[in-house]
């Protein structure tokens, strides 16, 4: 949905212009120029980059130690010393929020990637081999989809414990069906194309077929879905942390910070804003990036 062009009558536009190199370049810009001119892509990337920088350079950027307790300075409103105020233990909120990027982004990205690593091969297999394998895989994926995401997540976390790895795996597991379906759909769509039939007919080994013929055609939607998955994973992780089932204190995490802030809503209303805003902006960033990738990759691929 790139609304970046303006419709208007250009005075002096001469319809007598014969096709030139200028018009050719206009219809086939490089993918980078396309990306740079797409609002979604740019804003999304900027947002994510901010948080990535936070995550990587947390030790350098955070003014205070996020774990440092200072009971006297508890629940202070934003001030010059503490830009976002302090939490109930006197810890600097800004620092905790910056450090929070680390854990949250790590889980979000990790979960999304794990999800893709499992979901994509499943989808490829289901789509390519079809038949019984397809039915079985699809039913299993449907079974996972039959659960409200969060409920399944909390059930798993409650049973298996709340290590970061479990968290990543759980969220990743939840999202596998989305990748599976997506890839399967793409494969089915491409399977009947002539050039694919030709490859199959010429005896290309299956593995090569999958990696060189199907995968490239499916790569674009996967990439789009991957960024989307990161956003949703972040949201789920925040939700789980909010419920006490995600990243555990004292690890600074936006979700658990929100949980803590709830108790002090009446006393320290500013506490709620920062961690929630971070989750919101990060998810927004991933969503925009995903939209941007879709804008850039899809129409371009059609050419």
């Amino acid at each position: 949905m790139s609304d970046s062009h303006v419709l208007g009558h250009q005075p002096g536009h001469s319809p007598q212009l014969v096709g030139t190199a200028e018009t050719d370049a206009a219809s086939n810009p490089s993918i980078f120029r396309l990306a740079a001119s797409d609002v979604n892509f740019v804003v999304g990337t900027v947002l994510i980059l901010v948080f990535v920088v936070f995550a990587i350079f947390a030790p350098l950027l955070a003014p205070y130690d996020p774990l440092e307790v200072n009971a006297i300075a508890a629940l202070q409103s934003p001030s010059a010393a503490h830009w976002l105020g302090t939490d109930e233990y006197g810890r600097d909120l800004l620092s905790r929020v910056i450090w929070g990027s680390r854990a949250s982004l790590a889980v979000a990205i990790g979960a999304a990637v794990l999800s893709a690593l499992v979901g994509v091969p499943l989808g490829l297999a289901a789509g390519y081999f079809g038949g019984g394998l397809d039915v079985v895989i699809m039913r299993v994926l449907d079974a996972v989809l039959a659960f409200p995401l969060l409920l399944l997540a909390i059930m798993i976390m409650a049973s298996l414990g709340t290590s970061t790895l479990t968290l990543m795996c759980t969220i990743g597991f939840l999202y596998v069906p989305y990748f599976g379906r997506l890839v399967r759909g793409s494969v089915l769509g491409v399977k009947n194309e002539v050039f694919v039939q030709a490859s199959i007919a010429s005896g290309t080994p299956t593995r090569r077929l999958l990696s060189h013929v199907f995968l490239p055609n499916v790569a674009a939607p996967i990439l789009v879905q991957l960024t989307l998955a990161m956003g949703i994973s972040l949201l789920i992780e925040a939700g789980l942390s909010y419920l006490g089932l995600g990243l555990q204190p004292p690890t600074p995490a936006w979700g658990s910070m929100l949980r803590a802030s709830q108790g002090y809503l009446y006393v320290a209303p500013w506490y709620v804003l920062a961690p929630g805003a971070c989750i919101f902006l990060a998810v927004l960033g991933f969503n925009l990036l995903s939209d941007g990738l879709r804008d850039v990759l899809d129409p371009h691929m059609r050419q």
Binding site: V18, G19, S27
Partner: protein, 336 residues
């Protein structure tokens, strides 16, 4: 053009511009023609030559925001349609001018009964409701040749065959007795056997209702038995305008001639079908001068200047510098 009788529809120098992918393109330029009462005018040309856009602009149905009528006027009984308010236009649509489209399947609402769709028009323009409206709708369905009309009126579009659907479209368009019908490729999406039936149906109804009709098609064969006059369009312009007979027997423009030559004939001895070399110009890169020049076998230097539409004979206009000259040689070698 006209011989004393006032025209029902008078299109004057219209220009339609569309914007696509950041480019502005003029897809119809300087098109003028008249349609008299009860007359049948055919507009012939390749896909993309602007004939559909011309029809849509008459109805005021150009796709909003991507296309506009940028010049010219359209007069219906001396009232300028281009200067009318939306409300005034709506009273004319379906009521005085009606339009039928190429694909009857996609042109009918799939989730609405046929009777409802026809009654909609009757209610709007004639104020009919309830039983009276339904009876009128059913009688129109009978009139266009839908069997068991009473029962079938309550069915949905997907339950009809292609030809039947087109009949339904015609019933829907004519039920308010418009004075002018614009038919945009009404038979193109149909089987050949059905095409003939539909055309005869249209002609019959036209006579009954004393209605004028503009028949748009890319197929000269469709035009042959149906129209009084023909306009030939190319690349957004009218290149020839004449009576149907003249178009077939005395074509003035090289493009018209090429179209005629492309019609396969049973007594043709050639092994290869004739086709015109080249393609129409893209609208964003239209050549200066005669637009057909790049593909024309009669091209001369003068063709770098766009030839205007000039009378060749009575009621016959051609946009070609060499029209009269070529007509003589054509006449001698193509006695039909």
């Amino acid at each position: 053009m006209t011989s004393g009788t006032a025209a029902l529809l008078s299109v004057k120098e219209i220009e339609v511009t569309i914007s696509s992918q950041k480019r502005l393109m003029t897809v119809v330029s300087g098109v003028s023609f008249d349609v008299r009462h009860a007359e049948t005018v055919g507009i012939v040309g390749e896909s993309g030559c602007g004939k559909s856009m011309t029809a849509l602009s008459i109805m005021g149905l150009l796709p909003k925001r991507v296309s506009r009528l940028t010049a010219g006027s359209i007069l219906l009984n001396d009232q300028d349609l281009t200067a009318m308010s939306k409300r005034q236009l709506r009273r004319i649509r379906g009521n005085e001018i009606a339009m039928i489209f190429q694909d009857p399947l996609t042109s009918l609402n799939p989730t609405m009964k046929i009777s409802t769709q026809i009654i909609e028009a009757l209610k709007l323009h004639q104020g009919l409701t309830g039983e009276a409206a339904r009876r009128e709708a059913v009688s129109w369905l009978e009139r266009v040749g839908v069997p068991s009309a009473g029962r079938r009126a309550d069915e949905y579009p997907h339950q009809f065959s292609g030809g039947m659907r087109q009949r339904v479209m015609i019933a829907m368009a004519l039920c308010c007795r418009p004075k002018l019908l614009l038919a945009d490729e009404p038979t193109t999406a149909l089987d050949v056997s059905v095409q003939d039936q539909i055309l005869r149906l249209l002609k019959g109804l036209q006579t009954d209702l004393g209605m004028a009709m503009v028949l748009i098609t890319h197929d000269l064969g469709v035009v042959a038995g149906t129209t009084d006059r023909v306009l030939v369009m190319y690349a957004g312009q009218v290149v020839e305008s004449a009576s149907t007979e003249d178009i077939f027997y005395q074509p003035g423009h090289p493009y018209t001639r090429a179209l005629l030559a492309a019609i396969p004939r049973l007594d043709d001895q050639r092994e290869w079908l004739y086709s015109i070399e080249g393609r129409p110009p893209e609208f964003h890169a239209v050549p200066a001068g005669c637009r057909f020049a790049p593909r024309c076998q009669y091209v001369i230097d003068d063709c770098r200047q766009a030839p205007p539409l000039e009378p060749l004979a009575d009621g016959h206009q051609v946009a070609c510098w060499r029209a009269s000259e070529l007509l003589e040689s054509w006449g001698s070698s193509n006695a039909a």
